[in-house]
Symmetry: C2
Subunit: 397 residues, 2 copies
């Protein structure tokens, strides 16, 4: 008998796989151009040209021993120093290389941080709706994920009062994903201040340290000049997980970093333990070539304006068709209210070759996530199909 | 309180860090050219020129969306098919892409396999001396590592009878590292057959599946035309973890693969679970650019002849000085018997600016590991220092 935990996961995993397979089947049957796949958070804007130039330049110029050899498990000191300097310049922080660990994407970074923090039975809080994978990351280290219900009336801004009710003596961390997947909402400075105040109060009351883990792969995807608060400035015990997957469209390369500010409780111990966790989980270090590439591209970003055009076209099209959508300020997801059950809705959408993810997959039924990291052309072509779907539900105006 | 397991590890970790720091201190004090650092298994032979050419070509020619985007968590199907074809051609196996998962190095692959297999309390066997990191990998998933004592009389070939005595109903796996770190010994076909026979017998007797995990980052580093048996041909329940870290000198890039042969017990389930484990541990997938690079370099290898020259020079120099060494057939390590305690010996060696790792760090006291993935020049310059050390122990002839 192999791992029972993993056997259970292969059984649960099949629903998601079934969706991918359905997409492929539909494309084969109807032609790829007639299938409207909004199910995946895979960036469709290419990496900036500078990424290509730097790969070529670095490979051509660097001694291969230096380029591909081991370095400190935390990553190249000079790369970490440049990441710290970039954060300091943009957010007014005061990090140095000793606060930065280069990681295998944000997923790798979150696993490293959770392995560092959690004892079996420790609780990790998250606000619904949330990326369900967090539950797996927490379970890897025998922690318990507890979801705080979605604040639907509050336009999906986390509710600090609900947080107060959820914190216990076993609460080790709160994961905050801002801008949010799946809602596209940016948590405001006011929201963050209220959360920080509750955490401070609870730390004092319980005599514990509660770490705020900021998962921010979508930080650079904010529209209309909206600000995404930098959490270490609002709450002392903040740890950050970042990835260039979205901002530089490099999801396959697995490159990101974690921030462990010096002012955290047990900061030095957490840093040292996280470096060891990075090693013994088998990451060892973030991929060496990509560390050097991102260090040269800290001022670059994917073409956010293209996602913005998609956002506007999709929002306009869906609201015109009669759907109620959360107007997204960040990321590349539209959060759409479903008339009736969300799983049923996503099944019905398939009749029109539309693929969307039910809100149930983010612990928030009654909505679907429409990922608009697709071509604008596909969005425009999909709108008649969305209108027919709306008509079936009696929504069309 | 952060993870107690990790706090203990930061305390243990400091001994190794102290050695690195000592090396840096010595280099600063005496000059780098006067310090003989044989402590690290970091390849000193550069990656083949084709690696550089392929990085540049692939980056220049490939659509960045395809090159840096997500792919199946198991890796690009075409890369996996080419890896399978290369194994089939070289070892007479019959793998397809459905038997291969691209991994973040062998360390990532081993963690994925262990997460897939282990229930808490399951035992994983290993023959001493062994890479102590295995203990951490097993402990990540609450397994119990049990070491089988070194077969010193049998020239460090694993002893099948000792294996028979060690297997229990809780034995889930045996990790075999061939060619071996730290001894440089290649386990022969006879050894492998004897191990396979015991495992078959015990599986029948206990009614369990016992997986043989072949950790083979040193496979291509074999000298004098010595053959490294391909374990899936000797034992049905074999899983393989491989890395290009040593064969292509790419340790910083974190690229390898796992093999899950179709004839294994629960092969399909293991494959599916391993793909999920790869995702939820935070690897997600092996770095995308490097997947394409290694697929073009399957026929390449680092300059093994250079390691061979080092091997001969070091063996000759050390035996001439009076040391008793295991003559290494593979990898880039010399296993040297210490007159007296190995930790004391490695301390005494520092007086002559020689850094070597005590056998105690591989669960086998009475020896030290001398890593000869260094310049031939350094080996030659170090020999007078080794001779003085031998004289202190009354060894010199």
């Amino acid at each position: 008998m192999i791992s029972e935990k993993m056997i259970r996961m292969t059984e649960n995993g099949s629903a998601i796989r079934a969706m991918f397979e359905e997409g492929a089947r539909m494309a084969a049957k109807f032609g790829r151009e007639n299938v409207y796949d909004f199910s995946l958070g895979n960036p469709n804007i290419p990496a900036p040209e500078k990424v290509r130039q730097e790969i070529v330049r670095i490979a051509a110029e660097t001694d291969p021993m230096e380029l591909h050899g081991y370095m400190a498990n935390a990553g190249y000191p000079e790369v970490r120093a440049r990441v710290a300097a970039s954060l300091n310049r943009r957010f007014g922080t005061a990090f140095s290389e000793d606060n930065i660990i280069m990681t295998v994407g944000a997923a790798g970074g979150l696993n490293v941080l959770l392995k560092t923090l959690l004892n079996p039975g420790d609780e990790v809080l998250v606000f619904a709706p949330y990326f369900l994978e967090y539950g797996n990351y927490v379970s890897n280290f025998d922690g318990v994920l507890k979801a705080i219900p979605a604040n639907i009336e509050g336009n999906f801004q986390p509710d600090a009062e609900a947080l107060r009710a959820a914190v216990t003596a076993k609460t080790k961390a709160l994961i905050l994903n801002n801008p949010n997947n799946p809602t596209g909402v940016i948590y405001t400075a006011e929201t963050v201040k209220a959360i920080a105040a509750v955490l401070e109060e609870k730390q004092k009351e319980l005599g514990t340290s509660i770490y705020l883990i900021s998962d921010e792969p979508y930080r650079e995807l904010a529209y209309d000049g909206k600000e995404v608060p930098y959490l270490t400035k609002y709450y002392r015990n903040t740890l950050v997980g970042y990835s260039w997957s979205k901002s530089l469209s490099l999801p396959g390369e697995r490159i990101g970093y974690a921030v462990i500010p010096s002012e955290c409780d047990d900061a030095r111990l957490i840093f040292d333990a996280a470096v060891i966790a990075n090693r013994i989980l088998g990451f060892v270090n973030a991929p060496s070539l990509q560390q050097r590439v991102v260090a040269e591209c800290l001022e670059e970003s994917a073409d956010v304006a293209a996602y913005d055009r998609n956002r506007k076209a999709l929002y306009e099209g869906l609201t015109e068709a009669g759907f109620e959508c959360v107007y997204p300020d960040g990321a590349f997801y539209m959060w759409v209210k479903t008339p009736g059950d969300d799983r049923e809705f996503s099944e019905n959408a398939k009749k029109y070759n539309i693929l969307v993810v039910p809100g149930t997959s983010f612990a928030c039924p009654g909505y679907v996530r429409v990922a608009y990291c697709v071509s604008l052309d596909m969005i425009i072509r999909s709108l008649p199909a969305f209108r027919r779907l709306a008509a079936d539900y009696g929504l069309s105006k």
